[in-house]
Subunit: 261 residues, 2 copies
């Protein structure tokens, strides 16, 4: 099942994607919902970010090959991934939907790079979940592109502008349910050319481990998102480029890069 959030005219609603149509619902997948009689052609709705997170979590470095690459380019002191599942944060201001433009600020010193990721979307309030129970609070999975301005990432004390500049967090296109988060094939393409491929089974700490660890100290809420990291080297994007993050069982998150006017 695929849950989207969309706009038609001035109306914002959740919907179920069925083939090339969206079945509009009243309510939301995070509370209660009921299918309405409204169906819209998928091509005629504007897809929005599939949820607005109360808290926006991000795992950071969570694949071995990416950790090694990060050390070779001076983004990390060690080529080893973290030894504990210490979650990080991103900011809602930076979120954009599928097909919205990534805007590179005029004063970016470059380079801005893609980081395609699997995103777990929390569906139920949860605390103190065991590893075995952990995935029971997940509604489903969507895709994220954790764009990173590498000069700012090296210069600044925090990731505020390197990773949280407006438009730097594409998320979507929708939330797919019923997936095994440990076996999803991820493909990142730049202008149609494959630039990275990996399977989510290679995460250092998997989704269940993160959720059980986090929920020992904090309450997860419906709509919270956990971005789970990217694998491999990443590469630069320039204005005019189109970047796509694709996952088996989910779909494609596509965004164009433009320069700030």
């Amino acid at each position: 099942m695929k849950w989207c959030r969309f706009q038609v005219g001035n109306k914002v609603a959740f919907g179920m994607v069925e083939g090339d149509e969206v079945v509009e619902v009243s309510g939301s997948p995070f509370e209660t919902y009921q299918a309405t009689k409204s169906r819209h052609p998928l091509s005629r709705v504007k897809l929005l970010i599939p949820c607005v997170p109360p808290t926006f979590y991000a795992a950071g470095v969570n694949y071995r090959a990416h950790a090694q690459w990060a050390a070779t380019v001076g983004l990390a002191a060690s080529p080893n991934p973290p030894t504990k599942a210490d979650i990080g944060y991103r900011a809602n201001n930076a979120l954009i939907a599928h097909e919205e433009n990534i805007v590179v600020p005029k004063d970016s010193l470059g380079v801005v790079e893609y980081e395609g990721e699997l995103v777990a979307v929390i569906g139920k309030k949860a605390k103190h979940l065991s590893r075995e129970e952990a995935l029971s609070c997940v509604l489903g999975y969507t895709l994220g592109n954790d764009l990173s301005e590498r000069t700012w990432q090296k210069q600044d004390r925090t990731l505020w502008r390197a990773k949280n500049t407006d438009t730097f967090k594409p998320m979507g296109p929708w939330i797919a349910t019923g997936l095994d988060p440990n076996n999803i094939d991820m493909t990142i393409r730049l202008n149609g050319k494959v630039v990275s491929q990996f399977n989510t089974g290679k995460m250092v700490f998997d989704v269940a481990h993160y959720i059980s660890t986090m929920s020992h100290y904090l309450t997860l809420y419906p709509g919270d998102v956990i971005w789970t990291g990217t694998d491999n080297a990443t590469g630069p994007m320039r204005p005019g480029d189109v970047v796509e993050v694709e996952a088996s069982g989910i779909g494609v998150l596509r965004n164009r890069v433009v320069a700030e006017q």
Copy 2:
């Protein structure tokens, strides 16, 4: 003017604090509002956190004496404050209101310390504000206590549990308007005894500087909060303690510390 958010029975509303009464409004100070005919004794309403932030910003180290102290106790590598206004983040799960309990997890290795802070609350959507324009997007100011578990702060790669464990971010009691953020007297008390006093005029980077810097790259939204850091040494709190953060022109944020059951 003092804006609170409160609950009476099952109803949640914004209100204006007038003496020992709350004038209930329809709408909110972040959009449009209208005073209703309902007035409640302040002592009979449950105060809630004064807003639910879309993004929860925190300045971190922003006073010289605190930076020096942090270095002496091994929390910072350098006794100098940051040279740039690189904002950080906290998490909504951790927010609690005035008079709600701070719960120290069973497995805390200690110590949990207070950090009383001035908090700027954004009232209007804003981007690309100059220093001169910066404060025009601020609705008002409230208080925060940036509780920190110092062992986790030293052990972990991020601040996720050191500063964002559930209940570790008391915020309130309400939002006061019309204040000069550069001249507020802050007093922190533990069990009635003053443990820290400072004036917000001693911030390394003031509120206007943070807002103009941040808004160059990111859009600020109504309800976003910017915690501005604490001064001086901080100290430990134990179950049974009562911690208060007081500010001239705002009021008192009071919370009791309890042990997790």
